[in-house]
């Protein structure tokens, strides 16, 4: 067997590391801004591009795809080459991956604050960027699979199984969730509607967590912890069982984001049940990581890298226990729409993803520069301040979540709500929100210190752009070897492994999504539900543009305290024309599904101009430009036609003029209404469209009118 000489590409890793650090700090800064805006709404500064609703998706996309995304690529490009004893198959594809990904991020930074959004969480980027994501993702996958096929290490290490599963699953999730019909260059409507859109979205959303935030990082954990600790992995058997169990079960858990909503009961139960079953596979990863440190615990005391990794894995374990607990309907009744969900997300994000990234970077940068870390003291400081930051972030938000829920559901013995004004429950939380800002600041400070430390380290050493290595070439082996277990066989067969992973992850999606789409009885038809009028459609698009669904939900749950507060609970059939659905995930402001007719048009006019004029103490940003900007209805025909393609029953030829006429008529009516209230507003202003939409919400079903209504 001849020894082949080759070189590992470190330059690409360095590029990704730089991007990880820069986007990490950027993403955290945007998050800190958003958090501060909740406490000091003046920080919205009356600038459309800076309002909470527009920058919150920028924060989520930045930390998930820019920070963790680049972290994944950095770790994978480093570890994959060494685990396979070969250089990346194509340097060109590596660089296309890098620059393509950064351009995608840049386009997010530009388009999201400008209001170009699909409103679907972690999939807000509009259709041209979705296409770019798919292309770059495939570039990465092709490069990776080709590298694997050209490897000099016969068997694939567990980390590589996770990388393959990541590639395959994220591709499937992204493509299927991004089925949208473009209306213009930066606007599209989701292919799915209402309940089905919700299910597909959270099949995607939960598994974005699973296969973007978890599986690649588990792969990285399997590489970097044994390397950093110098210890063997605890149990090979455990890695097999938990890998396959994890990728199979995770997919089914999507509906746990939709408990007590209009999603059919059977789908909700599947979500709950599979989330509980998911505890063990997730903890398998935690155990393998922690138990690998058996015999090296004294090293953990000295080494900041191992400290980061231990806290990361522990946070992973906590999160993957809390998640299933939140998937129980009784717990979810308390947590849904509150800050408890946010706290949970950040334990995982800051604890697992953040800390593991930091540990990995502290290990990689000195190694690639042939030197030691510039300041171990600073790394230790970073460790402690970020741990503290996580605590200051999560604990106040747990408190806030409980407080808000218990206020929402409290009744007086006379039978009415104790806190009928939603705003009272929000104002109660402001001290906790302030603490959360402190926590985020601590965490960000740590990241900045890390950036400085890593920069100093790279300057101290000299970068090894291409690392020499040698290994014998692999001889081809045909068929099964005698005594070889099935798994040992599939470990040396990357394509069957890929196909097997694909089959396994498709099962859950098919079982949950196909019946919801194909079996009509899952969404009982309500005859009185009609499509949105053209003006209401335009208003809905404004609602999406401003990111209102980031603070307001549109899903009244079947609980007494919700029906007392908002009206009749939401039915599946009401959402059949909602492309995309707007159920929301959080109530920083009240639910709006039954907002129609609750307040006069003039109330909405004043409220959007300055929320505090109608709700003193409100933390909602101001939207003065809605009152001064003209509605851009130039795409109306395209929008109506797109909706018709998607199955919304507008009359034949409605887009050819009748739609425009109806829009103007309705706008005039609303303007006249406002005039009655001494408000002069031209009918072509954006606020008119938004008022039309808000006044439509929830009015499709006939809620029982109060007896003895006073005649108008």
């Amino acid at each position: 067997m001849s020894q082949e000489r080759f070189q590992y590409d470190n330059a690409i890793v360095k590029l990704f590391i730089r991007a990880t650090v820069i986007w990490g700090i950027t993403g955290m800064l945007v998050g800190l801004t958003a958090a501060s805006q909740l406490v000091w709404p003046e920080l919205n500064a009356n600038l459309a591009w800076l309002t909470f609703g527009r920058i919150r998706p920028l924060h989520t996309n930045a930390v998930i795809f820019a920070f963790v995304g680049n972290g994944i690529f950095a770790g994978v490009y480093y570890s994959l080459q060494r685990l396979l004893k070969t250089r990346m198959w194509s340097d060109a594809l590596s660089r296309i991956n890098f620059w393509g990904w950064q351009l995608i991020i840049l386009s997010a930074v530009l388009t999201l604050p400008m209001g170009y959004t699909s409103s679907k969480e972690y999939a807000e980027l509009e259709w041209p960027i979705d296409i770019a994501i798919a292309l770059i993702w495939v570039v990465w996958g092709v490069n990776m699979m080709a590298t694997i096929l050209n490897r000099r290490e016969r068997h694939l290490y567990v980390a590589v199984w996770f990388y393959i599963a990541t590639f395959v699953t994220v591709a499937v999730l992204h493509i299927f969730n991004s089925f949208e019909l473009p209306v213009s260059f930066m606007k599209s409507y989701s292919w799915y509607a209402g309940v089905q859109d919700a299910l597909v979205q959270w099949w995607y959303g939960h598994n974005a967590v699973a296969f973007f935030l978890t599986t690649p990082y588990l792969g990285l954990m399997y590489y970097f912890i044994p390397k950093a600790a110098g210890r063997p992995v605890y149990s090979y058997r455990l890695s097999i069982i938990h890998f396959w169990a994890l990728i199979f079960i995770y997919i089914w858990a999507g509906p746990h984001h939709l408990l007590h909503t209009s999603l059919p009961d059977w789908a909700q139960s599947l979500g709950t049940v599979f989330s509980i079953m998911l505890i063990a596979p997730s903890w398998g990863g935690m155990l393998n990581g922690l138990l690998t440190l058996r015999g090296a615990w004294d090293k953990v005391r000295e080494d900041p890298i191992l400290k980061f990794m231990v806290v990361a894995i522990s946070a992973y374990g906590m999160s993957t226990f809390e998640g299933p607990m939140l998937s129980l309907k009784s717990v979810n009744a308390i947590s849904h729409f509150t800050d408890w969900t946010i706290a949970h997300v950040h334990i995982g994000g800051l604890g697992w993803n953040g800390m593991l990234t930091f540990g990995m970077l502290y290990w990689l940068v000195p190694k690639m520069h042939g030197t030691t870390l510039y300041s171990k003291k600073a790394a230790n400081f970073h460790f402690w301040i970020s741990t503290l930051g996580i605590l200051f972030y999560a604990l106040p938000l747990y408190w806030a979540g409980f407080t808000q829920y218990f206020m929402w559901q409290e009744f007086r013995p006379e039978g009415m709500l104790k806190y009928p004004n939603f705003l009272d429950t929000v104002l109660q939380l402001l001290p906790m929100y302030t603490m959360r800002v402190v926590g985020g600041t601590l965490y960000l400070t740590g990241a900045i210190v890390m950036a400085w430390n890593l920069a100093k380290t790279s300057r101290k050493g000299s970068f090894i752009a291409n690392e020499d290595a040698e290994a014998p070439a692999l001889e081809t082996v045909r068929g099964r070897l005698p005594g070889e277990s099935i798994h040992r066989w599939i470990e040396r067969k990357p394509m069957p492994l890929l196909v097997m992973s694909l089959v396994v992850i498709l099962i859950g999606g098919l079982v949950e999504i196909l019946p919801t789409i194909l079996v009509k009885s899952n969404i009982p038809t309500i005859a009185s539900v009609k499509p949105y009028t053209p003006l209401e459609l335009e208003g809905r698009d404004l609602y999406i543009r401003e990111g209102c669904n980031n603070c307001h939900s549109q899903m009244v749950r079947p609980f007494r305290h919700e029906t007392e507060r908002y009206g009749e609970y939401s039915k599946a059939g009401e959402f059949v024309y909602d492309h995309p659905f707007l159920w929301g995930s959080k109530r920083t402001g009240p639910d709006l599904h039954r907002e129609g007719g609750r307040m006069p048009d003039s109330w909405h006019y004043h409220h959007m101009y300055d929320p505090r004029s109608m709700s003193p103490g409100s933390i909602m940003p101001r939207y003065p430009w809605l009152l001064t900007d003209d509605l851009d209805a130039s795409n109306l025909s395209a929008k109506i036609e797109a909706m018709q393609t998607l199955g919304v029953p507008y009359p034949e030829g409605y887009a050819d003029g009748q739609a425009q006429a109806d829009l103007e008529a309705q706008a005039n009516a609303i303007a006249a209404n406002l005039l009655d209230a001494d408000i002069e507003c031209a009918p072509q202003k954006e606020i008119i469209a938004l008022i039309a939409y808000l006044q439509r919400l929830g009015t499709d079903i006939n809620t029982p009118v109060a007896e003895n209504t006073v005649a108008p």
Binding site: P232, I276, F406, E414, G415, R598, P600
Partner: protein, 413 residues
């Protein structure tokens, strides 16, 4: 936050199972800990004590706090050398007695909690009178609860004190009871042959092999220097996994196949029915059943005060702080869209005017509150607001409060 949740724990169905479970857990832990400590060998303790990690800074800090509060005890003349012949090290004592104190605290709080919940649960099931008598025996008022907590904290502190004394004395006596070298060697061997029960439990749960066995477990895998061990799947993890799968099956059968548990919609109907029954029972017991037919305009200081407060909170956004109007009509003039008598105001406020955008307040205000707000609004009649809205509706005579003297009062407002 506590004030929002304190009273709800008792109203949740089946809540008493939780303190019971917690009591069971704590009690079992206490028993196991006791057994573990009693079976410990001195040699093992010494070995663990000499580990480099034992710098006892935390211990010293905790004891310093206790020391400062226990000055009189410094002058104790005789302390019974309680556990000295076991030769247990300081830290084990601290752990043991500290946890005992904590467990006692938890048990006492848990027990009181259970009794309170059980009794309140009984109150729903049995006749109220019976339950009231029973409850008065066990009821835990807020002050009693916090008093118990404080008492337990003092108990903990006292125990830490006592244990410090024992530790001091045992330290002095230790050299006298050091076993002979031969005996030590024998004890050493005995320890090696018989692992402690705690180690046995841990080993069985995890199927850990000892670290010495590691070379045997190494597989012939090597990935960039990373090796893998062939350890077994931890039994607790594996059987826990199976249990979660079985639990999932049972859940699905329970909800969807046998239908024992109600689904979302049915659970909602049940909740609403229960609430309606409760509310009706409560209201029937009170004389708050004013409605739009029976309401009367009575000018009273207390009514005006409450009405003013409610108006400022709920109405001023649309009707202006002085009633002059804005989004809603002017309430200070004699022109009324929906009638200006108190029962008209009551009706308007209670049911709202949905077509015009006035919200219905019957879900937010009790009938008495609606009466008082109406009273306050009528008292604003004839006042001069800062920016009065133009009159809307029909001209009416101002409403007259009950009683002639009230006429003077209205005129002077």
């Amino acid at each position: 936050m506590m004030r929002f949740i304190k009273h709800h724990l008792s109203s949740m169905d089946g809540i008493e199972i939780w303190p019971l479970i917690s009591l069971l857990i704590f009690f079992s832990f206490f028993v196991l800990l006791f057994v573990y400590v009693m079976r410990m060998r001195k040699g093992y303790i010494d070995e663990v004590s000499s580990q480099p990690l034992n710098d006892s800074k935390g211990t010293k800090a905790a004891l310093l706090v206790v020391l400062l509060g226990s000055a009189p005890n410094l002058f104790a003349q005789e302390a019974a050398p309680f556990g000295t012949h076991y030769g247990l090290s300081d830290d084990v004592w601290i752990v043991m007695l500290g946890s005992t104190a904590l467990l006692l605290t938890a048990m006492i709080i848990g027990a009181m909690g259970i009794f309170k919940n059980l009794v309140e649960h009984l109150a729903e099931v049995k006749a109220k009178q019976q339950a009231a008598i029973l409850a008065s025996m066990f009821v835990l008022t807020d002050s009693a609860f916090w008093g118990l907590v404080t008492a337990n904290l003092f108990l903990m502190g006292y125990l830490l004190l006592v244990m410090r004394n024992i530790r001091l004395v045992s330290k002095e006596l230790k050299p006298q009871i050091e076993p002979a070298p031969q005996a030590a060697a024998v004890a050493e061997e005995a320890r090696v042959k018989q692992p402690s029960i705690w180690a046995v439990i841990w080993q069985k749960l995890n199927a850990h092999e000892s670290l010495e066995k590691e070379p045997d477990l190494l597989l012939d895998h090597a990935y960039d220097g990373i090796q893998e061990l062939d350890n077994r799947l931890p039994p607790w993890w594996l059987y826990g996994f199976y249990v979660s799968i079985v639990a999932g099956v049972i859940y699905l059968f329970n909800y969807h196949i046998f239908g024992y548990a109600p689904l979302m919609d049915e659970a909602y109907e049940i909740e609403m029915a229960e609430a309606a029954a409760e509310t009706e029972a409560y209201l029937a017991s009170l004389a708050l059943n004013v409605d739009e037919r029976t309401v009367e305009y009575v000018l009273e200081e207390s009514r005006l005060n409450q009405g003013a407060g409610l108006f400022a909170k709920h109405c001023k956004a649309c009707h202006a702080a002085d009633g002059g109007g804005g989004v809603g009509p002017n309430l200070t003039d004699n022109y009324w869209l929906h009638g200006g008598q108190i029962n008209d105001l009551f009706t308007t406020i209670k049911y709202g005017v949905p077509a015009k955008g006035m919200k219905s307040w019957k879900a937010d205000l009790t009938p008495t509150e609606i009466q008082n707000v109406s009273t306050y609004i009528l008292s604003l009649n004839g006042t001069t607001p800062l920016a009065p809205k133009d009159p809307q509706g029909d001209l009416e005579e101002p409403a007259q409060p009950k009683g002639a003297e009230a006429d003077e009062a209205t005129a002077s407002l």
